[in-house]
């Protein structure tokens, strides 16, 4: 589902690489946790996968799409296939909960009926029924992140990338978010989660890939994590 082959990313010419010849293979329906300290290269990896950044060298293939052959106008199409959840939520501030989630459907030209039927179901999955009309400003951090998850999964992507989704949340809300990610994974979505929350990693008992100074230093199934 996700294939990285000796991928490097250097931001400034001649500078230290943020990612140094990383190779990673993620199977469909897998739940992979990417761990590592701040600055280890986790976020860079996520940004490469969403093609927010371009790799300096190496090969990236996601869902059969080779990023080297990707034209600019095809980038939106790629992003529509991947659901992304960000640490800082990235909700549209002038849109209500319903509109934020609806945006993901509206932009691909879904019909109004389709939108009206789908959104209540998705808001139910993330436990936000009754908050449809609220604006992001009126929500708690946990609620905002659940809106972001609803938006990421509403088009039922094959892959969900969650970059530190619990980073800004207290432990209780963090667990709510993680449980939703597990639920989505059970529905058959490949989930790639980055975190440095030891507790979450240890309780999830999933495949853990550890990144340090731009390199993968360990890759173990059902692993725990210690900082």
């Amino acid at each position: 589902m996700i294939l990285l082959d000796r991928v490097s990313k250097t931001y400034s010419k001649g500078g230290k690489p943020s990612l140094d010849r990383i190779s990673l293979h993620v199977e469909p329906k897998e739940f992979v946790i990417l761990v590592g300290q701040s600055g280890a290269g986790k976020t860079t990896l996520m940004r490469l996968l969403t093609r927010e950044e371009k790799q300096t060298s190496g090969k990236i293939i996601v869902g059969g799409i080779d990023y080297d052959k990707l034209k600019d106008k095809e980038i939106p199409l790629l992003r529509r296939k991947i659901g992304v959840v960000f640490q800082d939520f990235k909700l549209l501030p002038n849109k209500s909960v319903f509109e934020n989630v609806a945006f993901a459907l509206e932009m691909v030209g879904s019909s109004n009926n389709e939108i009206k039927n789908t959104i209540p179901k998705v808001l139910d999955i993330v436990n936000l029924v009754g908050k449809e009309g609220s604006m992001p400003m009126e929500l708690s951090g946990g609620e905002r992140q659940r809106v972001a998850i609803a938006r990421a999964i509403v088009r039922q992507p094959k892959i969900l990338i969650a970059d530190e989704p619990t980073g800004n949340l207290d432990p209780k809300h963090a667990w709510d978010v993680i449980k939703i990610l597990e639920k989505i994974n059970r529905f058959g979505t490949t989930v790639l989660l980055t975190t440095h929350n030891q507790d979450i990693v240890n309780k999830l008992k999933r495949r853990v890939v550890t990144v340090k100074e731009g390199k993968i230093v360990s890759d173990r199934a059902h692993a725990g994590y210690k900082i």
Binding site: E52, F86, N94, A104, G109
Partner: protein, 315 residues
């Protein structure tokens, strides 16, 4: 994308633009206020310039060249001369006034001055028959003068034409001055227009800069360029349209107010009545042009302003 989806998307873009306009109303009011001020200045400068050039035209239309004929020039020779002058390229019209007609005109002009009238009479008429030439272009009076200065023509003249000596200098000076004034007016309108466009462009760019994160988020979610940009363009078009309408209303109320305060008055070179007529006679054209300008500036500015936030990284 299928045709049906395209239509849905098109309506969504317009709807979203309109909704965004209302939700960002404080930003919209600030942006429109600046647009109203600049568009009003452009409109005023256009009206002032037109009025100004009308006044100049009134002055220059009074300029003509008079050819004073010898009393012994017969009718055939006169007709021939008139025909020759008419054939010149820079001549708009030619009028022939006989000695009697010139006398009559003289008497009318000096009706209040009996002494001057008594000095001349039907039997003792010193005034020459006159050919009055109206030129097309004041800048090219010499082409007419060259013809009139030919020895064969000078022979027919009782005195040098009105376009010679000191009079020529005066006319040339007026022509030069009016040329300069016209150019200044034209350049002023252009400068105001260009500055306005720049200010409006900058205003819209600032408005969009404030919301660059939104564009960035939409981009990350995989929204297409047109779908992200569309609502911004719609919003800016609404800005432009409303600002243009308000500026027209402001000029309109300025004229309404001035009609009471300055009824039928002229402020030096500025003929308020003419300006008013210009505004109301060409109201529809001005309205269309102004709203069109507002829409075009709005659309183009937002198109350019969103560009940089929509780019993908290529390295």
């Amino acid at each position: 994308m299928s045709g049906k989806r395209k239509i849905i998307t098109f309506w969504r873009v317009i709807r979203t633009g309109a909704i965004n306009f209302i939700r960002n109303i404080s930003l919209a009011i600030a942006a429109m206020a600046i647009m109203v001020v600049t568009l009003t200045i452009v409109l005023f400068s256009l009206i002032i310039n037109s009025t100004f050039s009308h006044t100049i035209n009134q002055i220059t239309s009074k300029i003509d060249i008079s050819v004073y004929l010898n009393d012994n020039v017969n009718k055939a020779a006169t007709n021939k001369l008139v025909a020759q002058i008419k054939a010149l390229p820079n001549v708009a019209s030619v009028d022939y006034l006989s000695k009697a007609q010139v006398l009559k005109q003289y008497e009318q002009q000096n009706a209040s001055n009996l002494q001057l009238i008594e000095a001349v009479s039907e039997t003792n008429n010193p005034l020459p028959a006159t050919i009055i030439i109206k030129p097309v272009n004041l800048n090219d009076l010499n082409s007419i003068k060259n013809f009139l200065d030919k020895p064969s023509i000078v022979k027919l003249e009782s005195a040098p034409t009105s376009y010679s000596g000191q009079e020529k200098q005066a006319i040339d000076r007026i022509t030069h001055a009016t040329n300069v004034l016209r150019e200044i007016g034209f350049v002023a309108v252009i400068i105001f227009a260009v500055v306005s466009v720049l200010i409006i462009f900058n205003t819209i760019q600032m408005a969009i800069f404030n919301r660059r994160d939104e564009i960035h988020i939409m981009r990350l979610l995989g929204a297409g360029t047109g779908y992200i940009r569309g609502p911004f363009i719609v919003e800016s078009i609404i800005y432009g349209m409303l600002a243009a309408l308000i500026s027209i209303l402001i000029v309109n109320s300025a004229f309404q107010a001035s009609s009471n305060a300055l009824q039928a008055s002229s402020l030096g070179l500025l003929d308020i009545n003419y300006a008013k007529n210009f505004f109301y006679n060409d109201f529809l054209n001005l309205l269309t042009a102004q709203v069109g300008l507002g829409i075009v500036i709005g659309a183009v500015s937002s198109l350019i302003a969103t560009r940089r936030y929509l780019k993908f990284k290529t390295r």
